[in-house]
């Protein structure tokens, strides 16, 4: 019985994730079409909504090409690793209070580690293909991912300083009064730039720059292993948007509904309406709306900015963003200690 419950819980997390991966691809194409005054895909299904499924089906039925000069095992293992570790991050996401698969006390560390291991998949895939475009693409991608991961982890450090716990749900619940966007606005901007670069999105998609490297580290990959890269890229976009909304927008908490409750003093009454509004104030729909808005911003950024050069990319990371975050890492503990507002970590007392 408990096994069946475990399976249902796992499927309830992973199926919406895969469905939204499919619809993020189609929404990217539709939104970019609208921004460029085109129609976009509109043939498959109503308004082209089933285009992503048609693409996936087509790619799954394509011939797989295993190049003779490649290391075949690593060639197939790289995309698999990327997909597995891009999807494993959904393990620690809280959808509502008490609604999570794993309540790990080091949940944020788990997310960081899993997104870091996905880099190895790209490195393996690019190196094992034994093609110069794939090799150069994987080199660039690895350098970019590890550089921007530094920024992500140091911003995370400051979030943890203000919330006092590595547990994801504690981080969300500690934003009940005010979401961390307000005290950490500059860091949110840095984190958002870092997360765009971490997911290899335009304008930082140097790893798969079509005009110079044919398709980057996945030049030689075809059929289902290409689908793996595709799924992993969009799954990590959604995951990092969820991470953004958890860290800076209060995750599943709705600040607006909370302020309505406190303004109208609704919390004391006990009718059905008030119970309903208190359920809505911390429910999965808030997380979903915040995540979708952030995904839209990702697509908007892609449609707006031209691609930058690789040396500019690395310079922006190491010479602009990293000094800013390091300055904050030095400043913020001093401010917090000076004002004596250190959060108490209960598990240490």
């Amino acid at each position: 019985m408990s096994n069946i419950i475990s399976i249902i819980q796992g499927l309830l997390v992973i199926v919406p994730a895969l469905i939204s991966v499919a619809f993020v691809t189609i929404s990217e194409r539709k939104v970019m079409a609208s921004m460029q005054r085109r129609v976009g895909p509109n043939a498959v299904g109503y308004y082209g909504l089933l285009q992503a499924f048609a693409d996936a089906l087509k790619l799954l039925l394509k011939e797989y090409v295993a190049p003779t000069q490649a290391n075949i095992i690593l060639f197939f293992l790289g995309p698999v690793i990327t997909l597995i570790f891009a999807l494993l991050g959904y393990l620690v996401i809280p959808y509502a209070p008490g609604t999570f698969i794993s309540d790990h006390r080091l949940g944020i560390f788990f997310m960081l580690a899993v997104s870091a291991i996905a880099t190895y998949g790209i490195l393996l895939a690019g190196w094992s293909a034994n093609s110069k475009y794939a090799f150069l693409g994987s080199l660039r991608s690895t350098a970019q991912l590890i550089s921007y991961e530094l920024i992500l982890s140091s911003v995370l450090l400051l979030v943890i300083l203000l919330t006092g716990s590595l547990n994801v749900i504690t981080i969300v619940e500690s934003q009940k009064a005010v979401s961390l966007l307000l005290p950490l606005l500059p860091l949110f901007i840095v984190f958002f730039i870092g997360s765009i670069a971490e997911t290899n999105r335009a304008p930082f998609d140097l790893a798969e720059a079509e005009s110079e490297l044919v398709s980057g580290f996945m030049t030689e990959h075809s059929a289902s292993i290409f689908v793996f890269f595709f799924l992993a890229e969009y799954a990590s976009i959604i995951l990092i948007c969820i991470l953004n909304s958890i860290l800076f927008f209060g995750g599943y908490l709705s600040i607006i509904v909370f302020s309505i409750i406190s303004l109208l003093d609704l919390s004391r009454e006990d009718t059905l309406f008030h119970v309903l509004i208190s359920i809505i104030s911390s429910s999965p729909i808030n997380l979903a709306v915040k995540t979708s808005i952030l995904v839209f911003v990702f697509i908007w950024v892609r449609a707006s900015f031209p691609r930058i050069r690789f040396d500019q990319l690395m310079s922006v990371c190491w010479l602009v963003l990293l000094p800013i975050t390091i300055a904050y890492v030095i400043l913020l503990p001093c401010v917090v200690s000076g004002l004596l507002i250190n959060p108490v970590n209960i598990s240490l007392l």
Binding site: K30, G98, T99, L287
Partner: protein, 86 residues
Amino acid sequence: MGVPFEALLPFGIIIGSFTVGGAGLWAVRKWDNEGKMPRWNKDKWDRQMMERDLRITGTKRGQSSNHEAPKGFELSNPWKIEKRIF
């Protein structure tokens, strides 16, 4: 051209699927946990207390106000008392 509503349809589906999945997970976990929400960020003390409640009442989240400890609770550990060989 107005607002291209077609481009917003996939976002609606994303929001819908995440909401349905989250609500389903919420329902399953609540049902699995005897109608209460699961506790989060449990430390060692919490786990020990939950295990003690399990031994006293027989259910995961049950609590008892009975001042007499049930049978088998004479020693504060869950293992059976082994007989001494010599």
